[in-house]
């Protein structure tokens, strides 16, 4: 076979093949080098003290405990609000909605939300939550902003997994005399739980990586906040990403910035692995 191809074709084939291979190789090396560089610059500065204290002007030490806690607070508040709303929205689209036009408009709106840049969310969050609802620059205002931002993610993944719940499950429940809500609560949602978890993890990833939407809503403070402070207005606090930005851009403290970047890299690896595990479970459920 091979001999029948003309020399010109063989050369073009070889060029195209090597283009594909080298593009993949370049990106592969680029990412590995980048991750390696971040760890190389950041890891030496990650110490027990760095992770468990707040920055102190007097002792001239930096610590990122406030930022770690703020990130966790914002994740918990956001997920607690967005999860019921997003799952509810997906249930409506998949189980209740009978008007096709309404579904189309809702899906269009969800796609629009997904496409809005985070800096615009930051601005609108500031207008709505910080000013209009007078929450002040606070963790709670930041979390509420992120609720709007992560809603499309939760709706989409939940909807995907609701679609895979076999129709016969619902029919079986109805045949036994169960009401609609009872069926959803006891049959449909439990079968879709893996997809809901995937959506949750994806949302957590989005929240952890977010910075532009939080700059003007959650603020830039580095004070230690208790969980009780976190849900009150006017308690500003920066997450890990915002603190990275502040250390790098405003203070020129690149050692600390790289250390935070290394921590963020670890978190995103953990999130990636969790998504994979959740999705694998999801797939296995489908095969059953």
């Amino acid at each position: 076979m091979r001999e029948k191809i003309s020399a010109k074709r063989r050369i073009i084939n070889a060029i195209l093949n090597s283009l594909v291979f080298s593009a993949a190789l370049i990106i592969f090396v680029l990412v590995i080098l980048m991750a390696g560089y971040i760890l190389f610059r950041g890891l030496p500065h990650i110490t027990g003290e760095f992770l468990t204290t707040k920055p102190s002007m007097v002792r001239e030490t930096v610590g990122i405990l406030p930022n770690i806690l703020n990130t966790i607070y914002i994740i918990i508040i956001t997920i607690m609000i967005v999860l019921p709303l997003g799952v509810g929205g997906a249930v409506y689209l998949q189980e209740y909605a009978s008007n096709k036009k309404a579904v189309k408009v809702i899906e269009l709106a969800t796609e629009t939300l997904a496409g809005i840049p985070s800096i615009i969310y930051g601005l609108v969050g500031m207008l709505i939550f910080v000013q209009f609802f007078t929450l002040g620059t606070s963790l709670i205002a930041g979390a509420l902003t992120l609720v709007i931002m992560t809603l499309p993610t939760v709706i989409r993944t939940t909807q995907e997994s609701l679609k895979t719940v076999p129709q016969s499950y619902r029919e079986g429940a109805f045949a036994l005399g169960a009401g609609k809500w009872y069926t959803i609560r006891t049959v449909v949602l439990p079968s879709a739980v893996d997809g809901i978890i995937t959506g949750c993890i994806l949302a957590i990833g989005r929240i952890t990586g977010e910075s532009a939407a939080l700059l003007f809503t959650a603020g830039m403070a580095n004070e230690l906040l208790s969980p009780l402070d976190a849900v009150q207005s006017d308690n500003a606090g920066s997450t890990l990403t915002v603190s990275l930005y502040m250390y790098a851009k405003e203070r020129g403290d690149f050692e600390t910035a790289f250390a935070v970047a290394a921590v963020l890299l670890f978190i995103s690896v953990i999130i990636n692995v969790s998504v994979k595990i959740a999705k694998n479970k999801f797939k296995r459920g489908e095969e059953k």
Partner: protein, 287 residues
């Protein structure tokens, strides 16, 4: 029985409200942006605002022309697409058609890692690695310019370009490829002459999505583009629409602050247009 029925009706209402939440949010966001963005445009004058070439918001006689921001955003996005898309499509071909399963699975994990890295981390690496190298390579006084921003954005849009293109390539019916192979085309010729043209609209969608990403990125651009309100030029420090909003927000007041909301409104309209194009492309593909 009656109680169950009441609960059923209540839950139906609750779910309906959740369902319409997306629409409500879009309307609220639009309303807030329009109501806080329009007054300044009215005061400055729409022509002066959109086509004015000078932004001097803190000067004695302030000027609010955002053409430099619009053009920087457009050029920066265009440059990122020009570099990022060919790389992305080639990588997607590698992922979809590579003969080694192990290689493509390792590579797709790397791409996933890439998409999970926060934008400030890209900004940081750009600031420390790309900016000084651009300065040294081209003998410039400062490496924080449009060129550095394009490089960083090109890397940042890769994961979305790759994943959408890959899905499109894999969705091409096998019969097309088998027919081409049966006619004597090699595997490579089949991919480039049959599979890629067949996946055209999916790849187009990935490009539009990439445009949206690049246009909307703020933090990474802020860290590498130098952030001066110049008319764009490849080796000049520039400000994008996104960074124009972010850089002055914390200390702005009065008309200056209102003008920042107007910039956000312009950016929002750009993004809406891109969403409409994306919808159009995807819909045409489904037909």
């Amino acid at each position: 029985m009656k109680k169950n029925k009441i609960v059923d009706i209540a839950m139906r209402w609750l779910f309906t409200v959740c369902g319409f939440l997306s629409i409500i949010f879009v309307i609220v966001i639009t309303a807030f942006l329009v109501s806080s963005g329009v007054p300044a445009i009215g005061e400055i004058g729409i022509r002066e605002f959109l086509f004015g070439t000078t932004w001097a918001s803190t000067a004695k006689n302030p000027e609010y022309g955002i053409l430099p921001f619009i053009l920087s955003s457009v050029y920066g996005t265009f440059g990122a697409i020009l570099i990022g898309v060919p790389f992305g499509v080639l990588c997607a071909v590698f992922l979809a058609k590579s003969s080694s399963r192990k290689a493509s699975s390792v590579f797709s994990s790397v791409i996933e890692l890439m998409s999970g890295i926060p934008s400030v981390v890209y900004g940081l690496v750009g600031m420390i690695v790309i900016v000084p190298n651009v300065r040294a390579l081209f003998g410039l006084p400062d490496g924080a310019n449009l060129f550095s921003a394009i490089i960083v954005l090109a890397i940042m849009i890769l994961p979305s370009v790759i994943s959408i293109s890959q899905t499109a390539i894999q969705a091409v019916p096998h019969e097309y490829e088998e027919a081409s192979l049966a006619l004597g085309a090699t595997k490579t010729e089949t991919i480039f002459k049959v599979t890629l043209p067949a996946a055209k609209s999916g790849i187009l969608a990935s490009i539009v999505l990439g445009i949206g990403r690049a246009l909307g990125e703020a933090m990474a651009v802020m860290m590498v583009a130098g952030n001066v309100a110049n008319m764009p030029s490849l080796f000049k420090s520039v400000r994008f629409l996104t960074t124009a909003v972010a850089s002055e927000m914390s200390y702005s007041s009065g008309l200056q602050r209102q003008a920042l909301f107007s910039i956000a409104l312009v950016l929002f309209i750009f993004i809406l247009l891109i969403n409409i194009i994306l919808n159009f492309v995807v819909k045409r593909e489904r037909k």
